[in-house]
Subunit: 577 residues, 2 copies
Amino acid sequence: MHASKYHINTLKEAPAEAEVKSHQLMTRAGMIRKAAGGIYTYMPMGLKVLRKIEAIVRDEMNKAGAIELLMPVVQPAELWVESGRWEQYGGELLRIKDRHNRDFVLQPTSEEVITDIARNEIHSWRQLPLNFYHIQTKFRDERRPRFGLMRGREFTMKDAYSFDRDEASAQASYDAMFEAYMRIFGRLGLEFRAVAADTGSIGGSRSHEFQVIADTGEDLIVYNPASPYAANLELAEAPCLIAERGPATENLAKTATPDAPKCEIVAEQLSRPLTDTVKCIVLATEVEGKPEETRIWLLLLRGDHELNEVKTGKLPGFENGYRFATEDEILETFGCIPGYLGPISPVKPITVIADRTVANMSNFICGANEQGYHYTGANWGRDLPEPQVSDLRNVIAGDPDPQGGNLALQRGIEVGHVFFLGDKYSKALGATFLEKDGKPAMLQMGCYGIGISRISAAAIEQNHDDKGIIWPLAIAPFEVVICPMGLQKSETVRNASEWLYQELQAAGVDVILDDRDTRPGIMFADWELIGVPLRITIGDRGLKDNVLEIQARRDDSAAKVPVEEALSHILDRLKSL
Amino acid sequence: MHASKYHINTLKEAPAEAEVKSHQLMTRAGMIRKAAGGIYTYMPMGLKVLRKIEAIVRDEMNKAGAIELLMPVVQPAELWVESGRWEQYGGELLRIKDRHNRDFVLQPTSEEVITDIARNEIHSWRQLPLNFYHIQTKFRDERRPRFGLMRGREFTMKDAYSFDRDEASAQASYDAMFEAYMRIFGRLGLEFRAVAADTGSIGGSRSHEFQVIADTGEDLIVYNPASPYAANLELAEAPCLIAERGPATENLAKTATPDAPKCEIVAEQLSRPLTDTVKCIVLATEVEGKPEETRIWLLLLRGDHELNEVKTGKLPGFENGYRFATEDEILETFGCIPGYLGPISPVKPITVIADRTVANMSNFICGANEQGYHYTGANWGRDLPEPQVSDLRNVIAGDPDPQGGNLALQRGIEVGHVFFLGDKYSKALGATFLEKDGKPAMLQMGCYGIGISRISAAAIEQNHDDKGIIWPLAIAPFEVVICPMGLQKSETVRNASEWLYQELQAAGVDVILDDRDTRPGIMFADWELIGVPLRITIGDRGLKDNVLEIQARRDDSAAKVPVEEALSHILDRLKSL
């Protein structure tokens, strides 16, 4: 490609609304242009990145035996009603009506359509296993779209769906996809981690997320630097930090703690470590239409720990969701305002659930259910009944890993997700097949997503500097840019540039020759912003000494290379990037 | 690809609603599955066809210097309001609302978005010419979607938009696209014709359609077998069939023509040729909100000719559209019911427009504005004033071409369309650039569409037989199928089949090996239905004689070829397909 025949339009300033680096840099580099909130045009170089990501994903999906098809963007509501998601899905599902007032959705995902296809196409165990995927435009009507391609409304996703005879075979399909994902993210050239994850609204019983490591990521990953263990903070099991409960050596004593509605303040007032305090969280569960069945729960965490809301949502009795209790409910239950609550003698009976660590604490400090007072020296069994025990908290850095070593935390951007669905959708839509014995059986499913457009943004969040983007070679819009100095004036420079351009093209390198009439400073700044991995500078001064300059985007300085060695040097350098 | 690892599911019967061959055959061959009316899933082989078409289109667009980008499916209404099409476009434009009740459209075409991009991206004449294209999902909310991919609601289209400094440069861009389209449809292996066409609702001043020739096509093409001339019937100029008006030799006579409201019956009653009669068409034009400005027009055609509604719409005074006059309007104007109307002495004064041929008729027959009576011997100038003259009729087969020879008619399916837009959209959206002299000038535009998914259907309408589809090689889901006879039982057959499969793959042939456990009759029928261009049959009997069988889909019988010559024979045969 010659730049003069291409469209390059970099911007000095990012739009004010662009909060994250990838949004700023993709806009400044001219890779995306906003059409509406969360809806973008992929400009030529942005589309090239997208296509390179797609090609790697497609190649590995095909190698893993998945079969590509293409399901529609506009899907009939009937199937979503059948699966129950027409009701369950929130405002992010864009529901539309056609000219005949019939209901449709703009697909955010395609479980319903593929299961409908499966129930019509799959008749016999002989056809199984099958894995269908497509790479298609999705729509998710975010309430407040922002962060550019990190969380757009219209986006490109690869979603695959496996169909198997039984759970063992479905697990094998899941494992094959897991391995394919490892290869995909490896080939993309990104630092990533596969982490055990919650199944969320997709449902199913097992799942892993593929997270691109980046400080700006929205997700927190718990991992063990010394082992392969990694899990999303939502799911990561928090160990009990006290191996055995110590003896009750202190007496229970009500102590004045004026203006101390937080554990940190109480610990300070009493000159005790924060780890001696217990935090109270009051929750309510209710049954729709039955206010008399509203139930109040008291969850206890050590003062330095945080509640994990996903784990909470999985507690027995919390199946229909939960909320934080209102101040009225708290007053009525504890006879006290928040800040001084505790598990000892509330006004009304209540179910107490203690985090594993809290359950092994002794001589602990908790609210006295009286404004301005806390108990010290509280002990299970002696001062209050033994609690129900559960893992309620988020892991914190340094927590011991039961398998050895200590856990650490890092931030990540979710770019892939694999789910073991079981028969959730096949049951809802009645997708059965005939087993060898002639009897109908339910298809076992898995689903596997990769956020194609989000990967382009995640790659930038992970790889950028003050000058701009630093693309991994595999997904760079161009692999090499040739920057001639004064091509318009010097025939020598023009000829050398065109020669190298032809040679690189012939060698299969994705190269662009910047033949625009631009000053070197602007030219270099453009390509540093755009983030092309390797830049070749060709000028009269160098050519006099028979050399040209090679500089990788991450390099501090350029290497001078004899012209006749340039091609092999560039090809070698590309291999090392 | 091995068939056992793929998904092949042919059907004996097409769905009852499938009216056209392509819809029936694509469904039966398992290439598409219906998700909703006019909305389909492209099954694996259907998608392969689509991708091959896309690849050819993309390659030729790139070679012609067009730059690929990707505009969104969901587009903000604001831009459509700005262009005026939010109001003008009919019910086919699917208008939707997001969760915040903001208006959007599902794009049927992208003039607005690309012009918005152009006005922001193009600042200087130095950037021009530019041609952007994308291959994207479109939506057109057809009132009654049918004919499968021939006229779907959700479909894939390539649309390109050129931007130029002036009309001459824009014409060069148009011509370059025209040539690229000639190469594209040539490479697709389809019999096609580029025809001059009307610009319709897209607007602009010049356009050509690319029509795939097929008896089932909706469009009528006028062409000259002896010259390159071809035009859509809508646009094709109809010659005057009477070089010079003959003398008035008959007297005007009112003649009884009872129960003869049609020219054919009048001619029969009077024993005169149909070509002596004149047909009356009464139209009305009106100005919205001004009923007093409704105007009645009388259009005259020779008895054997048909009105061309597109030409009519372009008559001076018809700029705001027209309609057929109501029976009340006709009675009021002519004092007579339809069937006996004529241009001589209507009750009210009226503008008469005669088709070119009618204007040169003499001694003609027309209604007498009295029920049951016609005039014979009518002559212009003597019996009624000279009319306004225009080309009003459709060409009919055999009409002389003014350039020599005679015109013929054939049916076609429109699969591509190029438009010279001028400044229609750049003016509406204010898309200007700075000319060399520093003054702002309006961008000159062209737009260029190709119906990717429709091509797959058109190819079938043109190429099929009783057994199924006959794909042109370039867009066949597979180029070659290997059909082993009894692969499950014979190791010799299995080894020979696998060997040939590997050899063909290594030679870059898109080959599928049918290793399913299927009876030969079913296997052959499947591949004839699917329409793979070349079939290789390998069986124990042939292998004993060291031969295998090669049969092209269009061949009546198979050729026996020695095994060691098979590869070169197949490669040669593919070249000739």
